[in-house]
Subunit: 600 residues, 2 copies
């Protein structure tokens, strides 16, 4: 661990509250107190207390996020890759707090704690806790620390659930939230895996109704629960690459029931390690809290829950996470978008499965650092300065980027002139967010982009431009009617798979739509066709037939006819060339066309 | 159960062999005997013994495939939907056999059987068995039944492993095999799930080293293994649709650790049912056999294993099967294709997960019935008769079919004249197999198609045309250099995403390639462009710009230039219109072009 990027030696602190008779009332109705939370902090709270970040942990995590506990400590905190000087959560800039959840076994009050009323460990007499209860206790800790507003609250997996709960339960305290690899509720498959783990623990004869603290603990059951859970944290592909069919200790099959494949001995090891550090009862309580999690339960619907959000939201998922699949994050994202909240979404390309939230720290750091910067300094959003050079390596390009037009964007200035001051704008195929930056700066719009390429999405987030990673051909269905003043499709129509559908969706979602595209009947195109008899290559159609991402070619006359057939109102038709607007013979003399259309 | 489609009341039979001192030598080196197999048969063996089908079961299956055991029996056999008069495996035509595997607990010799040497159940003294051992015992059963050649051997999951083992171990006995929802080896994730299940059983204190037959059995451990396995048989989406977050018995959360979500009580029920019918030791032995399965282990590589296959192969996978994902089937398919075996592949679109092999019987029956018919009557392959009307509902169309050209195929006759008698042909974007049928009938070629749309793939299989369901943009990489005499891309170039790559791959894979495409510089196209200034719609380009599946437009001159730049030898250039071949001004007067090209 390099000294410069580590927070160094840190100490766990403890905060106790809810002393009787002022016990905390839990979501299930029971009272609990006193309650102790173990917590750590990193960095310094600034003078106006505006730089506080709350990190919330997953099932098996604890308060020890970063740094080491003593000079010989070989094992840094669980998110040390993300928290430290110059890291994603930069402790030179921000004050970072993390506490072990209530119900936990790493210093916070949980089933293994002594019940002061009996002098014995709570065991199963500990009340059932919920993600809401976790957040309620964290709110007490923040009050204790004198923090009334969080710059962000973030975590992966169950941490993401807590981040969502924070953003909806105490919206006025949350300037932003970053839920990672999570869901708005536990679904049937997630509950099923948890239930099998709990069955393994409770079926262990040593479990004795949770009253095992003075004897051997149900370690076999806990190990099985952990082994199973561990499979769900990886992906088929990461396991194939990491273990394959390798044998651990032998060079041939043993023809007995000993663990012999590497993956078996690895899982054995994971199980053994876990029983040395974790309390089986805590495993029951925390998985139950996850199963109960449904952020919408208190508010009637996901949309009603997301309506409460006041801060900026950055939702992150991972392509190979099958435990909390990306579609579950997307449901959160579109509910926020429907409620006109400031939401960005990135689905990071990785083989690492659910564990990616601990492993993909380079891409995460790029997203998070830019997002925090822009949350702390909203005046910098839309700034035209070039992105730093590290931007060139922002992950794999999308299979088919929706923003591929490489020419000089003569249409940008025109679009800026058309869009009303302060309006709500959706830019489909927004690329690196350049047009939206222009619109934010010059027209103070509230803008959202839709973009497929990961590198572009990260660029948008770093510029402070809200962006949803999605395929335009599929991405509008979840947005409500007439929810944008302007929907823009700039030089993207020709690469869309189903332009008929996308145009219909644009007209449904937006009051007015701006479409620009290369004019296929531009005279140079026609001349090349006529004289050469070849598919044309021009400034605005710069590709050869065999490497073109363009799926559709159309002319101004084609688009006019299309609007006529579909009963679409053409409000403006602007013909463009690199010299500017063309007023005569546009179908012949313009190499680009720009339309303002609306539904009739 | 309808009387007309059920095999009715059936009886389980028993066959015992390997009586000492003639014990069977198992793959692990140990000897075992006597061995009893429980089996059932349905239908009648025909006179020349050519209609025998062996069905092999999965982990928890048994010999009872179809029908009922007595008049009041409410539960038919495990694949009753597929086996019976007029069903996929039509017992009016075929003689169907199924036996419980060795190591099983449903009548065949396994760990719960009495060891004649001790008079006690074998328990863990039963030798470790392999999928190869299962197949070796089935071969003895067939010998007993007087069957020397199987029309087909088929099964899902572990049944698919046995089918693959049959096709490679006894290739001369296997006229065809249909491995379904399976893999050529157990991968790390599959082994991991099995290992957790075995740990649950062996960790149950009632397990007592497998010696529990005179006491309570380790039912808690077995139930946990089954609950876990059951999750892997479903899909996230099917569980979401079936259970969601519904509560079973209450209308509110109970705030305790009782099973309360529907999915929990469902898994409890699955666990309970299973322990009533299954032996925990058998669970250990059979999962171990699956973990050991690697069809290539005896032969050095998957390709060497597949090289041994003599019969026709139909490999089937399911889109939502994450336990045995489609890519594992595809590895089998391409290994067979590389060895120039007769292989077809269909990946059925479904939400049902791994269990789809038991549930998607309608599509399966269509595939299987046609495949069996053509295997029994190879002379009917390529017959030009129209497919029956039920073909119109063959499953969802592909998102982007690779065979979309709807016009009259003036190029077919030309292609038939070009292709050599008896040559090996690959048809990319083969549609419903019409061209391959022509080529088989007229030129006796050995043909394979590549096709994306499920309905077309099923049509091909039913016609007896070998077809691999794949996206042409990705599908050729696994095929070896110069492995086909002819590679055909008929009216498909324009819809391919990356024609440059596909053409390069075609030239690598085939000695000669035939390409036909609509000529974009056909005079009518040019005239419409020039006069109307609109993207043209003609006989061979029948789409509007907004609904065209065509991603690329090119002309004869474009293709000539492309070949020149890429150093591709143009062996023939044939310009076509609906009146036939055009010899003058082809770039202007032909609406279609056909090329024979080869690598230089």
């Amino acid at each position: 661990m390099s000294v410069e990027t580590s927070v160094g030696i840190v100490y766990t602190k403890y905060f106790t509250f809810a002393e009787p008779p002022n016990e905390m009332v839990l979501e299930g109705g029971q009272k609990l107190g006193p309650i102790t939370l173990a917590y750590e902090t990193y960095g310094e709270l600034n003078e106006d207390r505006s730089n506080a970040i709350l990190i919330v942990h997953a099932l098996s995590g604890d308060a020890h996020v970063a740094g080491i506990h003593h000079a010989q400590d070989a094992k840094p905190g669980w998110w040390d890759s993300m928290v430290g000087p110059g890291k994603g959560f930069d402790t030179n800039k921000y004050f970072v707090i993390c506490s072990n959840v209530i119900g936990g076994c790493m210093g916070s009050t949980g089933p293994s704690s002594i019940n002061p009323a009996t002098g014995q460990p709570y065991g199963l007499s500990f009340p059932i806790i919920t993600v809401g209860d976790m957040v309620q206790t964290q709110r007490e800790l923040l009050r204790h620390l004198g923090i009334e507003k969080l710059l962000t609250v973030t975590g992966g997996s169950m941490g993401g659930m807590q981040a969502l709960e924070w953003a909806t339960r105490y919206p006025e305290m949350v300037r932003s939230a970053i839920p990672i690899a999570t869901t708005h509720f536990s679904g049937a498959q997630q509950i099923a895996f948890d239930a099998v783990g709990r069955n393994a623990i409770m079926g262990d004869p040593r479990f004795r109704d949770g009253d095992y603290y003075d004897a051997d603990m149900p370690s076999k059951g806990l190990a099985i629960a952990r082994m199973l859970a561990h499979i769900t944290y990886l992906s088929d592909m990461s396991m194939r690459n990491k273990f394959g069919r390798r044998l651990r200790h032998r060079d041939r099959l043993s023809y007995d029931f000993q663990s012999e494949f590497s993956v078996e001995t690895y899982l054995d090891y994971q199980g053994e390690q876990f029983v040395n550090r974790f309390d089986p009862n805590t495993y029951l309580y925390i998985t139950k809290a996850m199963d109960y999690f449904d952020v919408s339960a208190r508010y009637g619907s996901l949309d009603e829950a997301m309506k409460r959000v006041q801060g900026r939201m950055l939702v992150i998922s991972f392509t190979s996470d099958w435990l909390y699949p990306p579609y579950q994050s997307e449901e959160i994202v579109y509910a926020l978008a429907r409620q006109e909240k400031d939401v960005s979404y990135c689905c990071i390309q990785t083989d690492a499965g659910h564990d990616a939230f601990l492993l993909e720290f380079e891409v995460l750091a790029k997203l998070v650092a830019g997002f925090l910067e822009n949350t702390l300094h909203p005046e910098r959003i839309g700034a035209p300065e070039p992105l730093d050079s590290s931007e060139t390596d922002l992950g794999p390009p999308a299979a088919a980027s929706s923003s591929i037009y490489e020419g000089h964007r003569v249409d940008y200035e025109m679009i800026c002139n058309l869009v009303d001051e302060g309006s709500r704008v959706l830019d489909i195929g927004c690329g690196d967010g350049a047009l939206l930056c222009d619109l934010i700066r010059k027209r103070s719009v509230k803008g959202v982009g839709i973009e497929l390429a990961q590198g572009n999405v990260i660029s948008c987030v770093r510029r402070g431009v809200s962006v949803i990673q999605a395929n335009a051909d599929k991405g509008l269905g979840a947005l409500p009617d007439q929810s944008f003043d302007w929907v823009i499709l700039s030089m993207t129509l020709q690469v869309i798979e189903n332009p008929d559908l996308v145009l219909r969706e644009m007209l449904r979602v937006g009051r007015k739509c701006i479409i620009s595209f290369p004019n296929f009947s531009y005279w140079k195109v026609r001349a090349k066709m006529l004289i050469n008899g070849r598919a044309p290559v021009t400034r605005s159609l710069p590709y050869s037939w065999y490497d073109s991402p363009n799926r559709h070619v159309l002319s101004i006359r084609d688009f006019r006819a299309f609007c006529r057939e579909r009963n679409i109102r053409v409000e403006q038709e602007i013909a463009l060339s690199n010299r500017g607007v063309w007023r005569i013979w546009p179908n012949l003399l313009a190499d680009e066309a720009l339309y303002v259309i609306s539904a009739t």
